[in-house]
Symmetry: C2
Subunit: 321 residues, 2 copies
């Protein structure tokens, strides 16, 4: 996703440096040789490519920083980046929740700021944006959430052509949507695995319930319902549930395999299943904040993390009607 | 859908009479012979089957009437039924808008009441409910919208097993959702036809925009936003856009064929494309009510009804961000 955002920024006429972490050499190597990016299937033309030791150089004098580190690595990268980070907007496409120093799950911007030891001009990029499509110029609607001036600056820098960008000050709502959609998309995939093509009603019922529970959780975190009803919520859940690794992960579990085994098999094939940890962190967040009445998330958590039987758990699923 | 609701009612222990219009002989004939229902692929066991001349008998002494006539035939059937209709709740799964005596598009319950010449205890059944799945007991979440007592009575009669039913007094919101989702699902299908599997971002952007425009139209009709954000709105749009004839119709047009030709080919194959007229009536409704700022519906209407070029129209699509 970082590479895709780099392609967009370069198309907008910016000078772009793409820095890769110490885990990204496999992605950068072919690009340095002028070959297509292994995941985007596009050459990264006109973009300066910097390997991990060159972090300070990558950040020096930057007018805007795009943050696209997987949530697992976000703290480690921030520890290295903080001394070099200019006071500019940080547009983050990283999704998830992180553990704060207090030991509770919180928003990525809150925890990163805690670790940076100073205020960050953090803008969360939500909305339905598969990397390959955004790089190729397919119509995409993102929502940039953060302090007005920073969010507007990011939108001015990145929007254009087929990339539509809304801005909002509701960073809590937007981050919660991004963190939760992987968890709920996995839940929708369970039906595909269990019932196959004849599960449309059940999937759609759970889609509506997911929106309801995302609204409950986002507002409990200080976010706004309208964010859940826009691109960052219904839009992103739609794309994540329609296709992608999290839905595939759910499908595998829905067919009766243990979650750990499906995740391990997908990991062996190089497929990251963000939904797997996302379900645990979402559930923990709900418990820590005292949010009740989340029957769908509870069922998903029971199946994926407590080994509950898929068939009987989904058969007992009831929503407040 | 009428047959599916009959199966559900029979499973709940009710005495059920299934009456078919003069167009439904092909469906009833095999059922009368004890063969499976041609569309549901299930036998209609324990259900009295009545052909079209037996309408009065079908209605006599009924405690609840399920109305499942296609919107095209709703007025003609109401004209025949009105003299025999008992004063009981009418649970309607019919979707669409009809022309009122004033000559403007309005809700089905409003127009049917006008034609019946007396108040009807009309309850609209919204929500994601494909007939075959509801008949087979797949988890389904419907929303019954109407005056409280009537809606509750319908819910008590039909809910149970895997059919979850919410009730609401927001009949305007629920009917608008049901009428609009076929139009917007067709629009989402355009992307599948034009870009194929690589249109996830565009589809999801339009899904979020469709929810926004459905909210605008539903509230203009006196409905409530919360209905659009629940099963009747996001839930039903999800299932309609994921699979079904309206999405297929859009796909065909997205591949470059004229809409009239795709509709004719589908009609020849026995497939009803409700989205085709639904787009015209939704657009007419918007114009008559003075609702502006509906860029997605405008684009869909231009492509389907005014022959606008799919590629350039979708390329110019912009949402208020």
């Amino acid at each position: 996703m970082g590479s895709a955002m780099a392609v967009v920024a370069q198309k907008r006429g910016h000078d772009v440096r793409l820095w890769g972490t110490w885990l990204d050499d496999d992605l950068l190597d072919p690009c340095v040789r002028g070959q297509p990016h292994p995941r985007l299937k596009l050459p990264l033309e006109g973009i300066a490519l910097l390997r991990s030791p060159r972090l300070a150089e990558a950040l020096q004098g930057a007018e805007l920083v795009v943050h696209a580190v997987n949530s697992d690595g976000a703290l480690a990268v921030m520890a290295k980046a903080a001394p070099h980070l200019p006071d500019v907007p940080i547009l983050s496409v990283t999704k998830g929740l992180l553990e704060s120093r207090e030991g509770t799950m919180d928003r990525i911007d809150v925890v990163l700021e805690e670790h940076a030891g100073r205020p960050l001009r953090f803008v969360h990029a939500g909305g339905p944006a598969k990397a390959m499509e955004i790089a190729r110029g397919v119509l995409t609607w993102m929502q940039f959430a953060g302090p007005s001036a920073s969010a507007e600056r990011c939108a001015q820098a990145m929007a254009g052509e087929r990339l539509l960008v809304s801005t909002t000050t509701d960073i809590a709502g937007a981050e919660l949507c991004s963190a939760l959609k992987n968890a709920y998309a996995t839940g929708l995939g369970l039906w595909d695995g269990m019932l196959g093509a004849d599960a449309h009603n059940a999937r759609a019922a759970c889609f509506a319930q997911a929106i309801s529970e995302m609204r409950t959780l986002a507002t409990a975190a200080g976010g706004r319902a309208e964010t859940v009803h826009g691109p960052a919520g219904v839009g992103d859940l739609h794309v994540t549930a329609a296709a992608g690794r999290n839905r595939l992960f759910g499908e595998g579990v829905g067919r009766g395999k243990p979650a750990a085994q499906v995740a391990a098999e997908m990991a062996a094939a190089g497929q990251l299943t963000e939904g797997y940890p996302a379900i645990a962190t979402a559930w923990r967040f709900a418990q820590e904040r005292g949010v009740r009445a989340l029957p769908l998330l509870e069922a998903i958590h029971s199946i994926i993390w407590l080994g509950a039987d898929v068939g009987s758990t989904l058969a007992e699923l009831r929503f407040a009607t």
